[in-house]
Subunit: 258 residues, 4 copies
Amino acid sequence: MHKIDLNSDIGESFGPYLLGMDEDVLKYVSSVNIACGWHAGDPMVMKKTVELAVKLGVKIGAHPGLPDLMGFGRRIMAVTPEEAKAYVIYQVGALKAFVEAAGSQLQHVKPHGALYNMAAKDPKLSRAIAEAVKSVDDNLVLVGLSGSCLVTAAEEIGLRAAREVFADRAYSRDGSLVPRNEPGSMIEDEALALTRVIGMIKVGQVTPLTGEDIKIQADTICVHGDNLKALEFLRKIRTGLEKEKIQIAPMQENLRHR
Amino acid sequence: MHKIDLNSDIGESFGPYLLGMDEDVLKYVSSVNIACGWHAGDPMVMKKTVELAVKLGVKIGAHPGLPDLMGFGRRIMAVTPEEAKAYVIYQVGALKAFVEAAGSQLQHVKPHGALYNMAAKDPKLSRAIAEAVKSVDDNLVLVGLSGSCLVTAAEEIGLRAAREVFADRAYSRDGSLVPRNEPGSMIEDEALALTRVIGMIKVGQVTPLTGEDIKIQADTICVHGDNLKALEFLRKIRTGLEKEKIQIAPMQENLRHR
Amino acid sequence: MHKIDLNSDIGESFGPYLLGMDEDVLKYVSSVNIACGWHAGDPMVMKKTVELAVKLGVKIGAHPGLPDLMGFGRRIMAVTPEEAKAYVIYQVGALKAFVEAAGSQLQHVKPHGALYNMAAKDPKLSRAIAEAVKSVDDNLVLVGLSGSCLVTAAEEIGLRAAREVFADRAYSRDGSLVPRNEPGSMIEDEALALTRVIGMIKVGQVTPLTGEDIKIQADTICVHGDNLKALEFLRKIRTGLEKEKIQIAPMQENLRHR
Amino acid sequence: MHKIDLNSDIGESFGPYLLGMDEDVLKYVSSVNIACGWHAGDPMVMKKTVELAVKLGVKIGAHPGLPDLMGFGRRIMAVTPEEAKAYVIYQVGALKAFVEAAGSQLQHVKPHGALYNMAAKDPKLSRAIAEAVKSVDDNLVLVGLSGSCLVTAAEEIGLRAAREVFADRAYSRDGSLVPRNEPGSMIEDEALALTRVIGMIKVGQVTPLTGEDIKIQADTICVHGDNLKALEFLRKIRTGLEKEKIQIAPMQENLRHR
C-alpha cells in the first residue's frame, strides 16, 4: 500500500498580525512546518501552534528562514554556508524546545522560501543546512525539493531526506519547478493537479511543461491553507488520495520503508 | 572545603560589532552566560562562543533577554508572564542546540538585565521563567539574585536554583542590590570587594550600606570582563579565593552538596 | 459653528501582514495617523498609505511608536526622554519624506500606544517629544490626550497642540481615561457614545465614571476602523455629528480659531 | 585649481556597540555619509553624529542601506526597485530630519554596501534610488561609483551626481572595481594609492589591473577611519592632495563648476 505525507506551513502569524487558517489546516495534513520567528512567527505563536499540533497528533517540523521578516523570507539573500548553518541550528533549536516542552518530538526540518530555493541548487549551502540539522539531532528528517541538492546533501551525511513534490506547480524537464513568474507555472485545474499527484506517488512520474514524462520520487506533498479556496483544494486532495487507497501518514513513517 | 562558581556574561558581539574580551574571561571563570540573539549575540557569535567554551571546559548557560537589541535588554519592558515564558523557551532552546551540536550539555539559565531585575521582585514573572526553563530541561539550574523571587520560584517547582551574589555592588538591608544610580552603590575598593565575597562564601553574611550584617547565600559570583581593568579584578578575585582555599567550580557541582 | 476633527490610526500593515480597512476609514475621517515602521508599518506600506491619503484629501500625521513590533508598541518600555526624542525625530522625518514625496505636507504627530500613554503622565517625556516635533518642523500639530502633559508640553514650547478625546472610553474624575482592564472602561452603547461626543464638543463637558460632569476640551476624536463593526460606528458618528451641524474638518483648521 | 571632496562613512555605532573613530575622521574629511539605522546606526547615534558634523562644519549625507543589521548591509538581497525606492525615501527622510533639527541641510545621499554595488550595475535599481532621492529633495546630490548606472540614472532625471573613486582599490579595464576577493584588488602601497588619486583628479585617468590607462572622473574620494592605520592613511592623503594644490571641498562645491 502506498503512503504519502501531506505537509503545510503554519504558525506564520506575528505579534498582532494573523496569517493562515492553522486550525483548519491541521485537520487535513499529517505534518506541519512551523515558522521559527525569523521570516514569520514569534515565540507566543510558536508555543500556541506547537501545542495545537501536538494536541491534534500532527507531526511537527521546524521551518527556518532567512532573517527577513519584512520580505517573509522570500527574497534571495547572499548568506554564506556558515551563516546558513548557524541560522538553521538557532531556529531549529528554538522550535525543538517548544515541541519538547509540549511533550512531543520534532520530526523534521524544512527550509523556507528563498533559503529552500537557494539550497535546492547550491550543494555547499545544502551541505551546511544538512550538517546543521544533523548536529542538532541526527534523527531529524530534512525535507527538500525532490531531486534537489538538499536531498542529496542530507543523504550524503547519513541524514534521512524527504522528497517534496508540489501539486499545484509545473515541472521542467530537469525536474526543477517552473518559476512562478513564467507562463504555465501553476496547475490551476484541480482535477489535473490531483491526477498528477497520484501519478507521482503510484508511478513515480510526472509530465513536465514540455517533453516526455520524467521520473520523480514523492515522500511528501506541499499543500496550502492560506485561504478558503486553498483549504477546499486540500480537502479534495486528501479525499482523492484516500479513494486511491493511498494512506496519508507522517513522513517519518514513509521513510521507514526505504 | 568551600566551593564557589564564578560566572560571566559573554557572547555579546553582534554582526560586525565586537564586545567583550571573551577569550580572556574564559580563562578565569567556571561558568559563562551566553547571549541568545535578542538583547545581544547572533547565531554566528553563539556558535563560535559555545565552541570556545566547550573547548576550554567552561560550563555554559543561556542568557535570555528582552527583545531590545538597541537597549541591550536593560530597559524595563512590560512583558506578561506568558510572553516571558515563551521568550525564555525560545532563547534557551536556541542556545541549547548550539551546545549540543558542540557535543556538550547546557548547565544553567540566567535571565539578563531588565528581565533578571524585573523577575527578582515579581513572583509571577519568576514563576513563568522557572516553568519555561523546567519545560525545556528539568536538569537545568536557574540563576537568580540571592534571596530573590527567582530563586524561590525555581525551588517551588523543583528546579535547582543558584544564588548569585555581586562582588562590586552594595546591598540594602533587605538583601536587594542598591540601585546603580544611588550613591555608594558600587564597591570601588577591590580589596574590600574581595573581603566581602569571602565573607559571603565562608560566613554567609554581608555588610549592607546601612545597619548590621545580613545573611546571604552565595552559589555563584557575577564577574565581568568587558575591559582590561575588569579582567584584572577578575584575576585578583580568583587568586584571592584560591588563597582562602575556596575552590572555583561550576555551579552544578556546588549545588550537589545541598 | 462647531468644528471637530476625526482621526484614525492607519498604515499598520507590515510586509506580508495586512491590518485594518484603510481605504474605508479614509472615506470618513479628516485626519489619519500613519505608522512609521517601528510598532507597525514599513516603507512600502507607508508610501502606499500616504499616497492614498493625499489622493483622497485626508490630512496626514506621523504616528511614531516604541521599537516593539512584536508588541505593537503597546508595552510600556523604560525609554529615557533623550531616547524618545531621537526616536520621534527619526520616525517623523521618515514619514514626512513620504508625504513631501507625494506632494503634500505633514499636518501633525500623534505618539502611539504606550508612548502616548507614558507621555500623558510624564512631563519630561512629553517635553522631549514636543521638542522633537518642533525641531523637525514648528508648524506641526502635536496630538495628545485632552488635559494631559503632552498638550501642556507642546504649548509651553510654542507648538500647537490638538486635544484628543475618545468616544468609546470612560473618563475618570481627573479627566484621565479609565484603564481598559477596569470595569466600565468601554462605552459599549453607541448612542450614548455619540451623545457624549456631542457634549464634549458643544458644552465642553463629559460625565465621568463616578461624580459630576467635568470640563474637557475636544479638538479631535479618535476613531477606529479595524473591523466592520468599528467602521459602522465611525459612519454613525460622522452622520450624527453632521446632523448636529458640527463640521468635520482637519485639526489644523480647528486650531486656527484659537 | 582642482577641487576634490573626501567622504567617509560614519555614525555606524548601534545601541551598546561602538564602531569607528568618528571624531577623528571628521577632522580630515569634507563630507560624511551617516548610517540611517538599517544596516548600522540608531536614532541616538544619528542625532549625536549629525550634531557633531554640523558643529565641525562637515557636510552631511544620508547613507541608506539594506534591512540587514546582522550583515551590516553588505549581503546582496533581492529587493525590487519599488522596495529600494521606499527604503531610500524612509532612511533619507529620517536622517534629513536630524540634520534640519540641528539647523543644517542635507547635502547628499550615498547608498551603502550591497545596495551601492547592486545599483552600480542595475539601471532599474539605480533609477528607483535616484527617483527616491529626488522625491525627497531635488537639491540633493546622489553619490555613485564613477562610471556606474547610479551616476547615469541621477543625471537622466535631473539630479546632480557625484562620481566616487577609491584610493585603495584596483580598477578593471571597464572602470568597475576589482572584487575584494580577487588577487590585487587592494592597493596596499600608500604612496602608490596617493599617486593614483592625484592622477584621477588632475589627469582624469587611472591604471587598471591589466591594460592601458582608462578615463575616470572623480568628484569625491571614499576614505576610511575605522582604525588607526586607516586614519593615518587618511591624513597622508589629505596632506598629499594639499601639497599638489588640490583643494579639499564638499562635493556640492565641486559640482557647481560643471
